[in-house]
């Protein structure tokens, strides 16, 4: 088995009196899809927010190994996690730049690379060739992703005008345009019809196998989770109750209890 891409150790997040995440540890690998599942309010999105720097964990260590060096995510500022550690994410409620065009959305994702190429705007203002080349390359990358998500014809439309399913795909493409090591997807299949869901599965599998990115996935849609994940972590009330391959999870009594309730509760309710 390969080295873990991200290692989460004893992650605890407390909001006042509420213990949202309680001593959760797990690891995710490159070229694998790791799913985090659990009932509503189990703390899945909180784990994501800790990984991507939106929350500072109360306790815990988040180590991302990136090639030569390791990044301790809990010590980095929010935007540095995307910029240096190269962790990208999508949101449960889609957060596109809806007034900007599809292409512009994908170029904003390549901001840090382009800023360096534009000499922090100086070369860009002078109209130097080296910036123009970098921008062409960035547009090339965006075009390749638009082909993959089948939105090439819509490149110049405002992102907010796209249908819902296309917005979901675009948000994933935008995250991938940052060329991340780890891609965190927060319920990407929410609100998709079965056909779109199947297309999403293909896209995620190709991200795993072709791009070699590690994928961390929160999802309620079990057809997505069980078909494509390599590894599943189950949370309930902030605690990790199970971890393993999809087949193991499906037959795990603790997981069944968390999702369906215990027999007694079932009778009472």
């Amino acid at each position: 088995m390969s080295e873990p891409l991200i290692e989460i150790e004893h992650l605890t997040m407390r909001f006042g009196g509420l213990l949202a995440v309680d001593d959760v540890s797990f690891a995710a690998r490159s070229r694998e899809i790791t799913a985090i599942i659990g009932p509503n309010g189990a703390g899945k999105t909180t784990v994501f927010n800790c990984i991507t720097g939106f929350y500072k964990p109360t306790i815990g260590r988040l180590t991302l190994s990136g090639g030569e060096r390791e990044y301790l995510l809990e010590r980095m500022l929010g935007h540095e996690i995307g910029q240096r550690a190269k962790v990208a994410r999508t949101f449960q409620n889609i957060r596109l730049f809806s007034g900007m065009t599809v292409l512009e959305n994908l170029l904003v994702a390549q901001h840090n690379k382009l800023m360096r190429a534009s000499g922090w705007s100086v070369y860009g203002l002078l109209g130097l060739r080296r910036f123009a080349r970098a921008e062409e390359a960035a547009i090339g990358l965006a075009r390749a992703w638009l082909e993959r998500i089948d939105l090439l014809g819509d490149a110049d439309r405002p992102a907010g005008e796209l249908p819902y399913g296309a917005q979901r795909r675009l948000e994933i493409a935008r995250a991938m345009c940052t060329e991340p090591r780890l891609l965190c997807l927060d319920e990407p299949a929410a609100g998709l019809n079965p056909r779109e869901s199947a297309e999403l599965n293909q896209l995620l599998v190709s991200i795993r196998d072709v791009d070699g990115t590690g994928v961390l996935l929160i999802e309620h849609d079990m057809s997505v989770v069980m078909n494509i994940s390599n590894h599943i972590v189950v949370l309930d009330y902030g605690r990790k109750i199970a971890e393993g391959a999809p087949a193991e999870i499906q037959s795990n009594p603790a997981v069944i209890r968390a999702y369906l309730g215990t027999d007694e509760e079932g009778l009472d309710g």
Partner: protein
Amino acid sequence: MGVRFPSMLKDAALTAFVAAALGIFIVGFRTVDVGSRTGLSFDYQFADLAVAIVTIFVGRLGLSLTAAGLRWPVVALGVAMIGVGASQLKLPSGFLHWFVALGGVMLVIRGIWPWARGTMTAAAGTPTGLALGQAGTKWFGWLLLVAAVLLPFTPAADQKTMDLAVLILTYVMLGWGLNIVVGLAGLLDLGYVAFYAVGAYSYALLSTQHGLGFWTVLPLAGMMAALFGIVLGFPVLRLRGDYLAIVTLGFGEIIRLVLLNWVDFTNGPAGIGSIPGPTLFGAVFSETPPAGKQTVSEMLGITFDGNHRLIFLYYIILMLALITNLFTQRMRRLPVGRAWEALREDETACRALGINPTNTKLTAFAIGAMFAGFAGSFFAAKQRFISPESFAFIESAIILAIVVLGGMGSQIGVVLAAVLLIGLPEWFRDLGNYRMLAFGLAMVLIMVFRPRGLIADRQPSVRLHPAGSGGGP
């Protein structure tokens, strides 16, 4: 649909009655000061009231007719009202002429609005309409530019017009500068005039105390204002929305109060006078040269004319404004410009993409401040006298209104809004105290008919497919 005249007349009469009931105390009576002994007395203005009520009656009737779909009678009614307003008829006050005429204009607009909109939408759908629209947006800016460059050579360019043109261009430049901060980066800055003041005082102090010339100080003033922008922005820009607005508002007031109270440095409320104007290759604009200097009329061998100075100032501000515009247009197409717009749309998503929000906002804030600094030093050189009074909050509010009414982020929109907001009150000076009413009316009309600003279309900063190819299914 049947037209029920009796009910329409009843409705109009009721409206007129309400207007009469409201107006009798506000318009009908006027207190006049008749001298210290007798104190106040009443003056009756029932004739004014009557004209106003008749106008309201006719206007309401017109609106009812519009609702019933009778277009041409409404237009006729409106034209008749304009005629009465514009006529030499002896109405009790000059304002009533305007009131009646404006009522007529509104009726005409209301009358032809559905038809005009229908035709325009239909025309915009045809290929010729599309091509015309695109050519229009493309060439309109150039047309304006050519008109602006040629303005001083037209017969209309008397001193009053040129003065107004310089004033409008100053606001256009300020609007373009603030457009970077508010329109592109979405940072609501209510204290923009502070940077304008920093620029103005930089030039005033450096020129009167240290004898530096306009062209030397211009970049310094810009840098100074940008520095203030960074110093203020650094702690403040992590605030969002309303909080940022309040803090910038406070900062604007603080700068004004410092200028007012730091008498040793700024000469306080008395202001700074005899600021030298800008020079042309070292030559000054005056009838008699000061010691050791040359006048422009001597240098060029032309006869002296007071207007030359104004025309020179006009071209300076035109050039400065164009630089602001070109710079902004260019920045919009660079990664930093796109990051500004992305920040305006969604800061959280930006952070997730690894964009440093503080630095990105800071660049927008500093660049906006820099252009205000340029404009400020131009203002000081033009006025030759500045005092803290020129940098009150109302200035920030007007500049912000120009940006918002123009359509956030639209460059041409800023020009139109500046002409409207600065030009109209000047042209309507005849209205006396009512000109602010006309100003308010214009703003309300814009907000009703163009809630997203005069020009709300956003042009993409980059395209994958050439414009006009439809852009997909």
